[in-house]
Subunit: 289 residues, 2 copies
């Protein structure tokens, strides 16, 4: 399968969905719409919504149904980056080669744009459920997706990981705590996307759990691969990573182990064509940047 | 009716509900739970959740059903205050006589606590729907409430008002824009609470719209009363308020007019005992602080 073509195809669908979001741009508060737009269209890989859509496609065809949840997850990811980059957080001036939101629009507007995006993610889901649910089965699965997404992005999920990251010091960090941070800060939203795709695709409980397990291991492999790439950029000195606890060889083995576990989880999906996820996993763990 | 006793009674129910929220406090990220706790229990009047509960009680008795939505709305209100107080926003060191969140826990943690609270509001609703909805009618009304709440708190609601407030200058502010700001920044969450109470209480569409109209006018009366109180504290010079466009006499008349409109909206609720809302309106528009 041609991974890059597939990524491009799905990305253009996501672009279209994002462009349809704002009801009316000619409003008093249009500045926040410009601020949100800037971050949504700043060249992100859109891995999470792509994973949600491709997970859905393992089970069902009509991707209209998964799109609102896919873009909601990308909104949550995007808001977390805007807030992460703020001066009192990571204080980053650039992301993906472009000035960060607060450098362009000011700190206050960046905070509100992040808040607005998180809220918009839930508005998008609420709108979809209210408009599209017909049967009680529809309501059940949409509500389950809403619950999974809200859980993975909250204080027991992504935000929890950011708190641990924020408070991390060389004295208080343990390997166990680091793995908790990787599971929440990195794997959680990936799991959120994969599980949501499966739920909306009406996968069986066993298949949903297979995607959850796949996401966890892919997330960990992805993050440790990131740590390995960071070492080449001399970032390791100030950052606490997997390489604060292990040498490079062990880190490479860990990436292998987690990606093998991820691939194994895919075997829980009998008779589904998982070529895309196999190719994506191989791409993500061998990437050079 | 004894308004103060009733406010106290409902407030203690809300306190109990808040105390049950956190599943597990012995976690790596417990600092954010402490940060959130600090702001939830800092002596706010809890007007919005009280309004949600009392609106529900106009139509139904079992307040267990409205509580998750009532506390969700208070979480949204609380997160907006935490973010509003940040140095890049209003830069307030004190709220309700206590140091603001960022003064106690630092700016980064205050940002995350706000994000966490907004997210938690939606987690709380998702949990409730997933666990308690039995019939399709349950799903329909819970989803409608979720949609109303997410809309009123978003960029076309509360956040939209904050954007206008943030960008306000004496040159660009008009009375029309100011009223838009009051409707979104102040009235929206009040309407959100009242409408949600009515929807979950299975009010008729006409009754839901009566509560929406009541909330809009109460919100405007409340905000202009606030402006009048501000003038006595000499805050008026730097702030754009109703009194930037009108003299004190006109402002007092406006409070009267909006509160009369509010009272009139209550008449759309045939045979309901609206004593509480009449007493609350009278209290709010005549308050001295």
């Amino acid at each position: 399968m041609d991974l890059n073509n597939e990524l491009k195809r799905i990305n253009s669908v996501i672009d279209m969905e994002f462009k349809n979001i704002f009801k009316d741009k000619d409003v008093y508060q249009k500045r926040i719409i410009e601020t949100i737009d800037y971050s949504l269209f700043t060249g992100g890989k859109r891995l999470r919504p792509i994973m949600a859509i491709k997970s859905y496609e393992l089970f069902k065809d009509d991707i209209e149904e998964i799109l609102p949840y896919a873009v909601a997850i990308e909104m949550i990811h995007t808001y977390s980056l805007i807030h992460d980059d703020l001066p009192s957080m990571d204080d980053d001036d650039f992301r993906r080669g472009k000035p960060t939101s607060h450098k362009v629009f000011g700190e206050a507007m960046a905070i509100l744009a992040g808040d607005g995006l998180l809220n918009l993610a839930f508005e998008t889901m609420a709108d979809h459920i209210d408009k599209k649910a017909k049967t009680i089965e529809d309501y059940k699965k949409y509500t389950k997706a809403f619950k999974e997404i809200s859980g993975y992005s909250g204080i027991y999920g992504m935000i929890g990981g950011q708190v641990v990251d924020l408070l991390a010091t060389h004295n208080t960090m343990s390997e166990e705590k680091l793995l908790f941070m990787y599971k929440t800060k990195t794997a959680a939203l990936i799991q959120s996307a994969l599980v949501t795709g499966a739920i909306i695709g009406e996968a069986s409980d066993i298949e949903v759990e297979a995607m959850r397990e796949f996401g966890l291991n892919l997330g960990l492999a992805y993050q440790i691969r990131d740590d390995i790439l960071d070492i080449n950029q001399d970032k390791i000195i100030k950052k606490l990573t997997y390489l604060s606890f292990h040498d490079l060889d062990r880190a490479k083995i860990a990436v292998e182990e987690y990606s093998n576990k991820a691939m194994n989880s895919l075997k829980g999906l009998n008779n589904r064509n998982t070529d895309f996820f196999v190719a994506l996993t191989e791409e993500l763990i061998s990437r050079d940047k």
